[in-house]
């Protein structure tokens, strides 16, 4: 484990450290202690090591990966890929191809999902070793602004002195006291991803992206899925014109979508969980579900870290306050990822991790993106970055919105997936692209161009003049930009004609 040779910051020393590990005196010192091995923590650790710093990475699992790889992005996307295939196979009937009812081997599906996770996390473990990062499996707590105590998974407790620490402990599913029922039938996202079986029916509590993605998986595998959402629409916060496309499709995939409805109570009954709902004006209603998935959000893991022994500040929601360099109020301690604030997304965490590591290595950098993309991996996918309609309306700022509905896209038509829309939010004065929103098949891949456009301060002209390959869905970006100037070749707008 993390045995350091020296507390000095010179890069030459850190090279020596590798050799010292073998025999000499172990002082349990490290230059950089990274707490949490998710996509924020491991990227921070790798970058710090690549910059010549001596790094100790601490995580509860045997390998780095965090929620993203073990219980989040990666396993859910493996399952969503399967869901997509099942839906497309069914869809193929429209084109004269019938496969018949699929036979689903849940055990094999799970084994494949597990192998995906193992391949990724094992790979990260290997990369950790190659970088000579000391990996400690355990739970760390701050004793002081320069010292940690680690309860090791293998048993035993040890102390580790550090020059800098990067806190990357992530988040966990929110637990609502009113929705707490100790029952194997009540799942959180972690439990749902374990995919023990395919229940006949399931209630998803919370119409956010996690609930909708996992609901899609189960619905595609054959479960009758109902969704209950407290607010008036699915995916609160996302632009309504994008959500409309998804809502339309989900209304056929899902059994029932209850909006403006709260769950009053959960009660274990003989063959399921009895759920009591309360609608906006309705009286209470009930339903019995074989499984209930609670996906009402995530909260940062900032408790029990010994932060009270440091000057780091935790706000009312549990986020640790950081500056542009991701430094907490305690100068030796940095915080990145979910624990450092919204949006709680892996790719934001990774970039913050790089910034924190570079700052520690003495580089003059800051975390100041113009756009952090968000992707909902439902079918159709929804993706956006930069300014949204919702935000523009809230700030009362004037924007021009250029839309290109996929009904006019050749590629979307060949896929029989015209249920999509690409829109650009454009500054009317400069023509600059301030935000991009996409709903449709593969929107998650398409949004990257939008992020680049926003970051590069591209003008609508730039997108319109950039030749996009035909026939692809990416052309919708170019066509939306053309629509901004009046007329796109494939979209006839009578009022401008």
């Amino acid at each position: 484990m993390g045995a350091g040779a020296s507390g000095h910051t010179s890069r030459a020393n850190s090279r020596r450290w590798g050799r010292l590990r073998e025999g000499e005196e172990r002082m349990n010192k490290t230059q950089v202690a990274v707490i949490g091995g998710g996509p924020g923590g491991y990227v921070a650790a790798f970058r710090a090591a690549d910059l010549g710093l001596q790094v100790t990475l601490i995580d509860l699992e045997a390998n780095p990966g965090g929620v993203c790889l073990y219980r989040g992005c990666i396993p859910s996307k493996a399952l969503l890929h399967v869901a997509g295939l099942l839906n497309e196979a069914k869809h193929a009937a429209n084109w004269g191809i019938a496969f018949g009812e699929p036979k689903i081997d849940v055990g094999k599906l799970n084994a494949w999902k597990k192998s995906v996770v193992q391949k990724m996390t094992g790979g990260l473990g290997e990369l950790t070793k190659r970088r000579k990062i000391a990996y400690v499996q355990g739970r760390a707590k701050f004793l002081s602004p320069t010292k940690l105590t680690i309860v090791k998974a293998a048993g035993g407790v040890e102390e580790l002195e550090f020059e800098h620490a990067i806190l990357a402990t992530g988040s966990r599913p929110t637990v609502l006291p009113s929705l707490t029922l100790k029952s194997p039938r009540v799942l959180d996202s972690t439990g749902a991803l374990e995919l023990k079986d395919v229940p006949k029916n399931m209630l998803v509590v919370g119409g956010g992206y996690i609930g909708l993605e996992l609901g899609t998986v189960y619905a595609s595998l054959g479960t009758k899925v109902s969704v209950v959402e407290m607010t008036s629409g699915l995916l609160p916060g996302a632009d309504r014109d994008l959500v409309a496309y998804l809502a339309r499709r989900l209304s056929t995939l899902f059994e029932r979508i209850m909006l403006d409805t709260t769950v009053l109570s959960l009660e274990e009954v003989k063959d399921g969980v009895k759920v009591t709902f309360k609608g906006k004006e309705d009286a209470e209603s009930e339903g019995v579900f074989e499984k209930v998935l609670i996906s009402v959000g995530r909260r940062p893991n900032s408790g029990d870290l010994g932060l009270e022994n440091t000057k780091a500040q935790v706000d009312a929601r549990g986020f640790v306050g950081v500056d542009l360099q991701r430094r907490t109020a305690e100068p030796t301690i940095f915080a990145i990822g979910d624990i450092a604030g919204e949006p709680m997304l892996a790719h934001k965490a990774s970039h913050e991790g790089m910034v924190a590591a570079e700052v520690i290595a003495g580089e003059k950098v800051a975390f100041e993106p113009h756009a952090i993309p968000a992707v909902v991996f439902t079918d159709p996918e929804i993706a956006w970055c930069g300014l949204t309609d919702t935000q523009a309306a809230k700030e009362g700022r004037e924007v021009k919105v250029a839309k290109f509905p996929w009904g006019a896209s050749g590629r979307a038509t060949t896929l029989d997936r015209n249920d999509g829309l690409t829109k650009l939010l454009i500054d009317p004065k400069t023509g600059r692209v301030l935000g991009v929103g996409i709903v449709g098949y593969g929107a998650g891949e398409l949004i990257a161009e939008g992020v680049l456009a926003v970051e590069m301060a591209a003008l609508a002209t730039d997108l319109a003049l950039t030749i996009h390959p035909h026939p692809t869905l990416s052309e919708t970006m170019m066509e939306a930009a053309e629509a901004f100037f009046g007329q796109s070749p494939h979209l006839w707008s009578a009022k401008r004609g």
């Binding site: 500040q313 306050g321 003059k364 113009h370 500054d427 023509g431 590069m456 301060a457």
Partner: protein, 438 residues
């Protein structure tokens, strides 16, 4: 009705201060104009009264917190039906909304100002989240360009973009940087070779404790560093034989005491220096290097350094040349008392043309006082002591009470010979005060 009582405009361009004391408690009933907090501004401690009376439902600030003008200090529940008993009947039962009093020309307080933080005062501030730092338009520059600017220390927001949509290119950043450098060079080289030195880690050698500077300490540090760095100092020393003066002082002291003052050497020095400043007007001037002008002041107001338990304060005695020695003694006694009991206002410390620093009460044979810019000279007084002085006529040594004096002056406006002449003049006036009315 709940009213938010805000920190009013305190005048003198004061924008903020540090809370020293909170005089009211939640749940307490206060009268309008009752002091609610005491705050320390750059050089004065001020008691701030509440603009309204009623029951305090919330105190938004704590001692040692920084407060800004316009910030909410208290929430007070005003009782319209039962006016406080002090209220005079002809007054309307409810006072004005405590909208920033006298904010007038400064306009309403900025809406961005947040309500007083409720977080414990001793904890450090939560760093600003990145998102909050970006308001309005994102800077139209590629990530690589933004990073370059940060690396070379250029504020990207200040770089004019030449591209379409005012996009900032790498070349824009570089040319802006070149321009800034060129401007700096044209402005002349700054102090070459002067760099901030990093403090060592004292904790390596023993326990240390860090304490925030008080406002007074910080201002003193900044101001004196400025004085020392910008004023070319010369110090001239001399001694005055005050044997006869001291005998006289003791004799007339009771008379002055009756008037409510103390006839001290400092009071006498005030009188002497005022006369000296009339004889040597360049010592009562300031220098304006921007316009290359000497500003001669037609008034004589002398600051007197007072040692208080909160640090050095320098109250001003105005129009010294027009006041009698008794008047000066009384005023000096009052103002020193005011300084020690934290009652000095900023106004009490502004507008001086010369400073006297008397350390004689403590001791020392002499010292080199720092010119209190924008003044150009300062008189230091150390402790008088009996010394053998050779009397040439009688051919013998005599014990005489000698008062060590030092004159610090700004060599930009005062030549060495004038410095010597000024101090000689002062010494002779101490030895033979009648010379002043000659």
């Amino acid at each position: 009705m709940a009213t938010e009582v805000k920190l009013p405009d305190l005048g003198e361009n004061i924008e903020s201060g540090q809370v020293v004391n909170v005089f009211v408690l939640e749940g307490e009933t206060i009268a309008a104009d009752q002091p609610m907090i005491e705050i320390e501004t750059d050089k004065a401690t001020i008691e701030v009264p509440s603009s309204v009376g009623g029951k305090v439902t919330k105190v938004h600030v704590k001692a040692s917190e920084k407060v800004k003008v316009g910030q909410v200090i208290l929430t007070v529940e005003e009782r319209a039906e039962a006016p406080p008993k002090e209220a005079r009947p002809e007054e309307p039962p409810r006072k004005e909304e405590p909208a920033p009093p006298k904010a007038g020309e400064k306009g309403p307080p900025s809406p961005k100002e947040e309500p007083a933080p409720v977080a414990p005062a001793e904890k450090p501030k939560m760093p600003e989240p990145a998102a909050a730092a970006r308001v309005g338009e994102p800077i139209p520059a590629a990530p690589s360009v933004r990073r370059l600017a940060r690396e070379i220390g250029i504020d990207i927001a200040k770089v004019p973009g030449t591209g379409p949509g005012r996009r900032i290119s790498e070349e824009d950043v570089k040319s802006y940087s070149r321009r800034v450098n060129a401007e700096q060079e044209a402005a002349g080289p700054s102090f070459a070779g002067v760099r901030a030195e990093k403090l060592p880690d004292f904790a390596k050698w023993g326990a240390v404790e860090r304490e925030a500077m008080s406002n007074i300490r910080r201002k003193t540090a900044e101001h004196l560093a400025y004085c020392w760095a910008t004023v070319p100092h010369v110090h001239q020393f001399d001694k005055a034989d005050i044997t006869d003066l001291e005998a006289w002082r003791k004799r007339v002291s009771p008379k002055v005491e009756k008037a409510g003052g103390k006839l001290t050497i400092t009071a006498i020095a005030l009188k002497i220096v005022a006369s000296a400043l009339k004889a040597f007007p360049q010592f009562n001037s300031s220098v304006d290097m921007e316009s290359n002008e000497i500003i001669r002041k037609k008034f004589i107001s002398i600051g007197v350094a007072v040692d208080t338990d909160r640090g050095l304060l320098v109250p001003v005695i105005r129009d010294v040349d027009r006041k009698s020695l008794v008047e000066l003694s009384v005023e000096l006694t009052q103002v020193s008392e005011k300084a020690r009991s934290k009652k000095l206002t900023l106004e009490d410390m502004q507008g001086r043309t010369f400073t006297i620093s008397n350390l004689g009460g403590i001791g020392g044979t002499n010292f080199t006082p720092v010119v209190n810019a924008p003044e150009v000279a300062i008189l230091g007084i150390a402790r008088g002591a009996f010394e053998p002085v050779y009397d040439k006529e009688r051919g013998e040594f005599k014990a005489r009470l000698m008062l060590p004096l030092s004159l610090g002056y700004d060599h930009r406006v005062i030549d060495g010979a004038d410095g010597a002449r000024f101090l000689r003049w002062v010494v002779e006036a101490f030895e033979d005060p009648l010379l002043m009315i000659l």
